[in-house]
Amino acid sequence: MFEYNFHWRPVLKSLPDLLQAGLLTLEVAVLSMVIGITIGLCLALMRMKLEGPLKWFAVSWIEVARNTPVLFQLFFFGFGLGAAGVNLPPYVIIVAGLSFNCAGYLAENFRGGFQAVPDTQINAARCLGMNGWQTYTRIIIPQVFRIVYHPITNQMVWAVLMSSLGMMIGFRELSGETQFFASRTFRIFEYFAVTAVVYYVIVKLILGSSRLLSARLFRY
């Protein structure tokens, strides 16, 4: 009944293209994370330290980013803005969508991190004559960074996997590229099986280097 014959040759032939697309996936994820970390840190501080419109802006961002599907967020930057006459290239849509999403999640990680550092650390630093900036950059943020390090790693992995939604907006990152070849050759299973392995390897590389880096960074 199931007389499916596997054909791996077309997949192997397009493997260089797939790997190339894998690099693009990684690039998009890293870029989104860099932007997401920066914005997420700002959102967390806005939510914790401010009152009024800016605080509610941050809270709304976090709420929407965390509680709606990433795909819808991408569609907003793609079709939503498109309907309003702002047509962004797919690369920008995916980076904007993922950054938006990551910033929301990371903001909450940062908030938790800040709350985990006791206030008494601030007093101790201020008593030594450090100003607010020095206290934050030298005492608080390094401790927060350690607390959020592993959640950030998780988010990085998540960003790689989420970027596969690029396929839905016609962006040829790893999944988009796979879809492209798969639909041309009808070797859908073979293509996505190989691509799954490529994702797996990318994620393993991220986790491995994260572990190596943490051993170097955190000696205490």
Partner: protein, 240 residues
């Protein structure tokens, strides 16, 4: 010299300090005793401006701590403070803990700051722990680290906020010895403490706080052996 005049502090409806007048001269060691909630720790927080005050004034060498145009960060360099929860910086080694403030606040060179750190750590008996992180130190060692860290800023006054209350009993001695050493070296100190032995033996004067009021102040002999206030008598009868 620290001059405190008619100092009032409220936390919301709670009137924590009710008009404190107190002078501490250079070289003096003052111990502040009293039950929990009597306002003694708050007094220290008001002296170095970690807490705002509602009335009165605190002057350090003539500079009004709570005046709007006072550079608090600069003023705090004169005031070392040691907390009940020692608050060592967990992400820095003992050396780095001590060297950081001289480096970034006072602008000393890295070599100079490290030299100061090493000197001060040896001073408090932690010469063999320079490269250790706080997590590898005992409570008593961390508290001595906190003292070294404060001393590295070359303060003129040291404020101790129940420096030994959170320590295991067998670690109290080493911290008190370090405080004694400072007193002998002529450091001006205000020690909020529950260690009656220390207050009696080391202080020049002892102040007893009761419900936000400085009930009685005088030489240790007076406070411990012939207190005037009934509250002081009762407190001392209970702690003995």
């Amino acid at each position: 010299m620290i001059e405190i005049r008619d100092l009032h502090k409220h936390f919301g409806d709670l009137h924590v300090l009710k008009g404190i007048d107190l002078d501490v001269k250079k070289g003096e060691v003052l111990s502040v005793i009293g039950s929990s909630g009597s306002g003694k720790s708050t007094l220290l927080y008001c002296i170095n401006s970690l807490e705002k005050i509602q009335q009165g004034s605190v002057k350090i060498d003539g500079i009004d701590v709570h005046a709007k145009n006072t550079d608090v960060n600069k003023l705090r360099q004169k005031l070392g403070m040691v907390f009940q929860q020692w608050n060592s910086f967990p992400h820095l080694t003992a050396m780095e803990n001590v060297a950081l403030a001289p480096r970034i606040v006072k602008g000393k060179s890295k070599e100079e700051a490290l030299y100061i750190a090493e000197t001060q750590l040896k001073h408090v008996g932690l010469g063999d722990k320079l490269k250790n992180y706080p997590s590898a130190l005992s409570g008593g060692q961390q508290q001595r680290l906190a003292i070294a860290r404060a001393l590295a800023m070359e303060p003129e006054y040291m404020l101790f906020d129940e420096a030994t209350s959170a320590l295991d009993p067998e670690k109290v001695g080493e911290v008190l010895d370090t405080m004694r050493l400072l007193a002998e070296e002529g450091m001006t100190m205000i020690c909020v403490t529950h260690e009656m032995g220390f207050a009696r033996d080391v202080s020049d004067r002892v102040a007893y706080f009761h419900q936000g009021v400085m009930e009685e102040i005088g030489p240790p002999e007076q406070i411990f052996y012939s207190p005037i206030s009934e509250h002081t008598k009762k407190f001392l009868a209970n702690v003995r």
